[in-house]
Structure formats: structure tokens, C-alpha cells
Homo-oligomer: 207 residues x 2
DNA sequence: GTCTATACCTGGATAGAC
DNA sequence: GTCTATCCAGGTATAGAC
């Protein structure tokens, strides 16, 4: 890992814990193992470090969520068929995988915390936070549920409301259990109960 | 309003906008209209101002949520009967009132933002945030739904999961529309769709 | 209880030797 | 690309006059 990458890495951790203003350039330099002045050979300001993180992590999040089995809009139709063919058990595994990605993935979790802290300070940060953690999930799932209703896998209902009912509890549990790693099992149990209930309410063929 | 109260008042606004570390003692003093040094006649440190806010707002939040028509546990049985007698329209009005309280009430909204920003910096802050915005709503509603199921107003289901399904979307919408006052109508429409769907799924007698 | 003045420190950032 | 040295602005907090 280059020094520049190491700076990004350590800065993200510190920003996620103490916020932008709560983290000094010296804190970052110490974590990296260099003097604070040396840091300015890699970035021209503290702000540039922060902006670089937001840029880079945004794209990395996109790639990762794709890699984690979330198909893109083009593949929505086949995705819907795929999800419909899933057993309840498969559906549970999938929702857990997504939940744990946002909760524990080394980049996703720190990035989410950093944006949560900084969203009120800067409008641009807020837009990124909103886009990734509010809009993206709902939009994708609404499209997916719409297709699944069309195919008769789900009972017809408003896809947007269904997406809200599916995603909001995940978002809530993410916030609730964020700082309690020892209660991960409890979190997963609640998540499972949520998905079971969701499936009970909306799936045409119970399994 | 005494100077001490005014300091709390202005500090809360600034902490909610810029965070604890993003707010200087001089910022607070300027907002109050005194010199920063004078402020130390009322509080012995910046930290003491913050702690006082957390203390005072916590109790004020309790009182207010009671005042806003959320009955205590002792009155749960009559509350359940009361909610059951409500028309769908009344249920919608009530959920909107609660949503708007957390979104716009002059104390609740600022307090929520402040805790959201500061939750990762200090374990105690996190506990307060968690208690007020995660546990309280779910616990109360789970007890209420349990009673309503017992009385046959709601279809029997896990009260905890029902509470999660009811409250999580409110929590999500609160976060989503927090910084977009111009989209309040949109937020209320989504909230309404959510409550309608919730009622459709769980209420025994549709109206 | 408010002011001015000041002490003391830490923060971000630059210059220049190696 | 790292270091030491330094600058300057701004932060928290105290002392003492009014």
C-alpha cells in the first residue's frame, strides 16, 4: 500500500470515529507513521484528503454492491425471476449478506459513519449520503418488487411502499446495532423476523 | 429567558448545525450577544454546556412525547382501545403529528441532529440517542400493538416485528427528509402511504 | 455578570535541509 | 518524500477591572 493510500485508509478510520473537525492532520500523520508536514507532499490540504475519500469510496461502494450480488437495472427482469425462485431461506441469507455488508464491510461501515457525522456540515456530503443510503436501496428494490409483482411472484401493491417496508427496517437496524458488535446475533434475529414477516405478507406462494 | 438558558438555546442550534467540535465557545457567545469570557461565569467549560444540553433535553423530550398524546404504559389498555376506535384518518393524523414532532419541533429536531452527529464520539451520547430514538418508540409501540392484538383490533402477529414495521419507516423518512424542508409535503405523502399499507395489512376491520 | 487582556495550546500549512 | 523549524490563526480558559 502506498503512503497516499495509507493516508486515505487511516483518515477514513479517524473521520468515522471523531468526525472531520475532531481529527487533526497530526492525528492522521501519527496513524500513518510520518510527520504532519510530510503529509502535504501527498495532499495539498486536509480538505483534499476528505474530498478524495468521498470520491473514491463512492465509486468503491458502487462496485462492491454490484459484486455482492445486486444486479443492475438492465438485469432487473432476470433478477426478479431469480429472486422469485429463491426459497425463504435463500431470501434470508441474501438480506443478511446485504445487512452485514453495510454493517461490517471495512470500507462501507466506516464510510457510512463518516457521512452520518458530516451530513449536516456540508450540503454536498448530504447529497452523497442521501444518494447511497436513502435513494439507491429504495429505488433498486422498488424496481425489483414492481417486476416481481408483474410476474406474479408478489401480491400487487405499491412497489415504492413495499421497498420502504423492506429497506427501512434494515436501515433502522443498521443504525441501532452499529455500535454493538457483541449484539450482532440479536440484530440478525430481528432482521430474520422482519424478512419472514415481509415474505409472509407479500409472497404469493409461501414456502 | 435568563442568560444561562439563552446559552443552552444558542449552543444547541450551533451544535446541531456544526457539531460540538465545529462550534467554538466564541460562536456561542456571539450568538448570545456576550463575550466568550463572560460565558465562563455560567458554565465552567464548553463540555459542561454540552452535558447540560443532553441532560435537560432528555427530560424535556420525555415530557413532550407524553404531552403529544403518547400515553404511558399504565394507560396502555385504554390507549389500545382508543387507537382501535380511531378511523384510518385519525390514525394518519396521529402518525403525522408524531413524525412532524421529531422532524420540526424546535427542541426535538435540533436535539436529534446533535445526537446524530455526536453519537460516535462518545459512548454516553450514543446510549442517549439509542434510548430516545431507537428503543423508546419500538418498546412503546410493541406494547401497544400487543394490547391491540389481544383486543382483536389487529391481526395477531409478533408485536416487536409489527412495531419495527411501523416505526422504522418513520425513522427512515425522518433521516431522509431532515434537510429538505421544501419536500415536507412529499414526505407526508410517503408517510401516509406507509400508514395506509400498514393498516391494510394488520387491521381486522378496514374502514 | 460583563468587559479587556492575556496565557497557553493546538491546528493547518509552508520553507528549506537532507 | 521525509524531516525540523517556524508561522500564524484560532481555540479554551483564567485574571482582574468595572
Amino acid at each position: 500500500m502506498t503512503t497516499k493510500e495509507l493516508i486515505i485508509e487511516k483518515a477514513l478510520t479517524l473521520f468515522a470515529e471523531n468526525g472531520y473537525q475532531g481529527t487533526s492532520v497530526k492525528n492522521i500523520a501519527d496513524a500513518v507513521g510520518i510527520k504532519d508536514s510530510s503529509l502535504y507532499k501527498h495532499f495539498k490540504s486536509k480538505k483534499e484528503i476528505f474530498d478524495t475519500i468521498v470520491q473514491e469510496m463512492s465509486t468503491r461502494m458502487e462496485q462492491m454492491s454490484l459484486g455482492y450480488g445486486l444486479p443492475d437495472e438492465a438485469g432487473m427482469e432476470s433478477a426478479a425471476a431469480l429472486y422469485g425462485a429463491l426459497t425463504l431461506g435463500d431470501l434470508l441469507d441474501l438480506s443478511k449478506k446485504i445487512f452485514l455488508f453495510y454493517l461490517k464491510d471495512e470500507f462501507a461501515a466506516r464510510f457510512r459513519r463518516m457521512l452520518t457525522i458530516e451530513q449536516y456540515r456540508d450540503r454536498e456530503i448530504y447529497e452523497v449520503y442521501r444518494q447511497i443510503f436513502m435513494e439507491a436501496g429504495i429505488t433498486y428494490q422498488a424496481a425489483l418488487f414492481e417486476e416481481m409483482c408483474r410476474q406474479g411472484i408478489f401480491r400487487s401493491s405499491s412497489p415504492e411502499v413495499m421497498a420502504l417496508h423492506f429497506y427501512a427496517p434494515i436501515f433502522f437496524l443498521l443504525n441501532k446495532y452499529d455500535q454493538e458488535p457483541e449484539k450482532e446475533e440479536e440484530a440478525l434475529n430481528v432482521l430474520e423476523a422482519h424478512v419472514r414477516e415481509f415474505a409472509r405478507v407479500y409472497r404469493q406462494n409461501q414456502d
